[in-house]
């Protein structure tokens, strides 16, 4: 048994970890060690990737590429391959993953199981939109292959299926052509929330990537910076040197208290504003701004931290977002990571996919125990009222009724569950 945690470092329970060493062996391993749960890079913040006291199947050993067609950009690989490895290999060949989350240190299997999104949902949808097929091993020994047109029910259950329908062994991904690693970016100062929604709507047609960083401690106004970008042909340029800063130890107390947070937020804003305007930026710092601060999650101290990410329908977007920012400002428990973006009108691929049309706000909160949980209750009330939902990839505490209200296809999903798979989250939100 070894202690395993997730990105939020909220729990450190013992797990029995079994590593897959080959795709061919997955079916046997899971049949003989069930019940268990697949675990990729543990980049989920809460308990979706944990199974306290039980079995975890480590998927990172499934790291083989299987085939690549340079004419069509279709890549077949095992589920433990990292998105960053795909990018590093394929960008020089003129292909890129159409959708990437804020960190490149996640596995293909994890990206499918949480149906992750990037900053370009209004153009490219979610990760699952680009999966042509996947192979799924079930703990009863069966292996099936499903895709949008083959066993579509299994596909819709597995994309965004939180690892609960089986273990994804391999998948075929459709990459998109790019002129190179560069993005033409524009950074704008966003005075308030209305400015955000205006900029966001105005950017939908001409810009692929849009995101806004909000200074929560500046109150409920929604003051921040708005960034947008498009892939661009920029010729040969020196690529950024991979500099890695590490957070070497867990500091005894959270560095993100009210005192340290305010200057950080202000400094960040000032810094970004100096570079306001247009720039040619490498995709890595734009898509994954924190990836070269290794282990930054330790900054929140030994009790760990929560991320709260919700999406609320576009119609009530400004109102609900304002109410959320108000509640957070009142509580004085802001975070230095507060990201606001909009999702486009695509129907979600998976039964439990998080992305739905609307506005999504994500914030980190130091774990201050009851105080923090109390704040979340008031945020939940706003999300519930707005007809929104929370993101399981980030969650460690949402109440079951909010989950059920936010995910109306839950009952249908449950019929696809693998009885030999269970997680801390599934026990918390689905009863088993």
């Amino acid at each position: 048994m070894v202690s395993v945690t997730s990105w939020g470092r909220l729990s450190h329970h013992a797990h029995c970890v079994t590593a897959f060493t080959s795709g061919a062996a997955v079916a046997d391993v899971i049949r003989s060690t069930r019940p268990g749960l697949a675990h990729g890079m543990g980049r989920s913040y809460g308990d979706v990737c944990l199974n306290a006291g039980g079995q975890l199947w480590a998927t990172r050993g499934l790291d083989h590429f299987i085939a690549f067609d340079a004419g069509t950009g279709r890549l077949v690989c095992e589920a433990g391959v990292l998105l960053g490895d795909i990018q590093r290999l394929m960008v020089p060949r003129g292909w890129m993953l159409p959708v990437v989350p804020g960190t490149q240190f996640v596995t293909v299997g994890g990206a499918i199981a949480n149906d992750v999104h990037g900053k370009n949902h209004h153009v490219q949808g979610t990760f699952g939109d680009h999966v042509r097929w996947l192979s799924l091993a079930r703990t009863d020994g069966e292996t099936l292959t499903c895709g949008p047109d083959v066993l579509p029910g299994w596909f819709a259950a597995t994309v965004g299926g939180l690892g609960l329908t089986g273990v994804i062994v391999a998948a075929e991904l459709q990459l998109r052509p790019v002129p190179g690693p560069w993005l033409a970016t524009e950074t704008l100062v966003q005075a308030d929330l209305d400015a955000f929604f205006f900029l966001s709507d105005a950017s939908d047609a001409g810009w692929e990537h849009t995101v806004s960083w909000i200074d929560c401690l500046a109150g409920d106004a929604g003051r921040g910076i708005f960034m947008r970008a498009n892939p661009v042909e920029a010729g040969e340029r020196p690529e950024p040197v991979a500099r890695t800063l590490a957070m070497p130890l867990v500091p005894p107390v959270s560095l993100v208290n009210r005192l340290s947070l305010r200057p950080f937020n202000l400094a960040y804003n000032a810094l970004k504003k100096r570079q306001a305007g247009r720039a040619i930026v490498h995709y890595q710092p734009f898509f994954h701004p924190l990836d070269n601060v290794r282990d930054w999650n330790r900054m929140y101290g030994p009790k760990g931290f929560y991320q709260y990410q919700c999406v609320v329908p576009r119609a009530v977007g400004p109102e609900a977002t304002r109410a959320l920012l108000q509640a957070i400002a009142r509580s004085g428990q802001g975070s230095f990571l507060s990201v606001l973006k909009t999702f486009g009108d695509r129907p979600p691929v998976g039964m439990l996919s998080f992305a739905q049309p609307g506005a999504t706000l994500a914030l980190d909160f130091t774990n201050n125990g009851g105080r923090t949980l109390k704040l979340f209750e008031s945020l939940d009330a706003i999300v519930r009222e707005a007809g929104g939902r929370l993101y399981p990839a980030k969650d460690a505490r949402m109440p079951r009724d909010l989950f059920e209200a936010g995910y109306p296809r839950l009952a249908e999903f449950l019929t696809y569950r693998d009885p030999g798979i269970s997680s801390d989250m599934s026990r918390r939100l689905m009863g088993n």
Binding site: V17, A24, I66, F68
Partner: protein, 250 residues
């Protein structure tokens, strides 16, 4: 590696060997011959390397790892098509020490796969390399071969044999252009050590170990500890006086 290099990997399905091969593929090595005992497992490795490397000729070969005649014939055939620039001998298996003590068949098997088989392959290939007066032969030994310890001395003895063998080969080829590199990994995160990992033993990332190995092969170093700190750690362990060593639980 320059273009059109020929690299032969024995035990090509080993995690350490695969990560070396990935680095070579990224550099665009010319030709790789992947040798193992199981065709399906070799195929997975070959497909992966074909995606990673462009313009590479990758072939897989199932070989006998025990029979001296078959090993010689195999090496003759591979080298006959052109002497290799790099031969990496990576196969091996970490036996259960207790089983080696209670079951002589297990003991013998451990000695065969970790000592005899690598030596036979090395000997079979090195003659061709010596005649061509070029190439680098790299053999994976282990830090475990530096001093016998109660926790795994059968494996350690086999790896110790590889160490002595490589030293002798280096001596024999000192005047030639052929390089012999002895690689001594410390505990590394691979399928071989999965049981240690689940007990919480600290293991080096295989990517870092592979990067050290390919660097040492490119330079033609005599000995490569991977990670480097194991050179110092093992020097201390080798020199610990008996009255200290005998009480240690290692």
């Amino acid at each position: 590696m320059s273009a059109r290099n020929k690299i032969v990997i024995l035990g090509a399905t080993s995690a350490i060997a695969q990560h070396c091969a990935r680095l070579w593929a990224a550099e665009g090595a010319g030709e790789m011959v992947l040798v193992g005992r199981d065709a399906a497992r070799l195929q997975v490795v070959a497909d992966d390397l074909r995606v990673r490397g462009r313009d590479m000729i990758i072939s897989t070969r199932v070989a006998d790892f025990a029979d001296p005649q078959k090993i010689q014939a195999f090496a003759d055939e591979i080298a006959g098509a052109g002497p290799p620039d790099v031969v990496l001998i990576a196969h091996g298996s970490l036996p259960d020490q207790a089983a080696c003590q209670s079951d002589l068949a297990a003991c013998r098997e451990a000695l065969e796969i970790n000592a005899l088989s690598p030596v036979l392959f090395a000997e079979a290939f090195v003659g061709h390399m010596e005649r061509a007066n070029r190439g680098t032969l790299a053999i994976i030994g282990s830090v475990a071969g530096d001093r016998g310890r109660k926790s795994n001395y059968v494996y350690g003895a086999a790896k110790g044999l590889v160490t002595r063998y490589a030293q002798g080969l280096q001596h024999r080829l000192a005047a030639s252009a052929v390089r012999v590199v002895l690689i001594k990994p410390g505990p590394t995160d691979t399928p071989m050590t999965a049981h240690l990992k689940s007990q919480g033993v600290a293991l080096a990332p295989v990517e870092a170990v592979a990067a050290r190995i390919t660097g040492a092969i490119a330079r033609g170093s005599l000995v490569c500890h991977a990670p480097a700190k194991w050179g110092l750690i093992m020097m201390i362990i080798r020199h610990l006086p008996w009255f200290v060593f005998r009480k240690m639980d290692i």
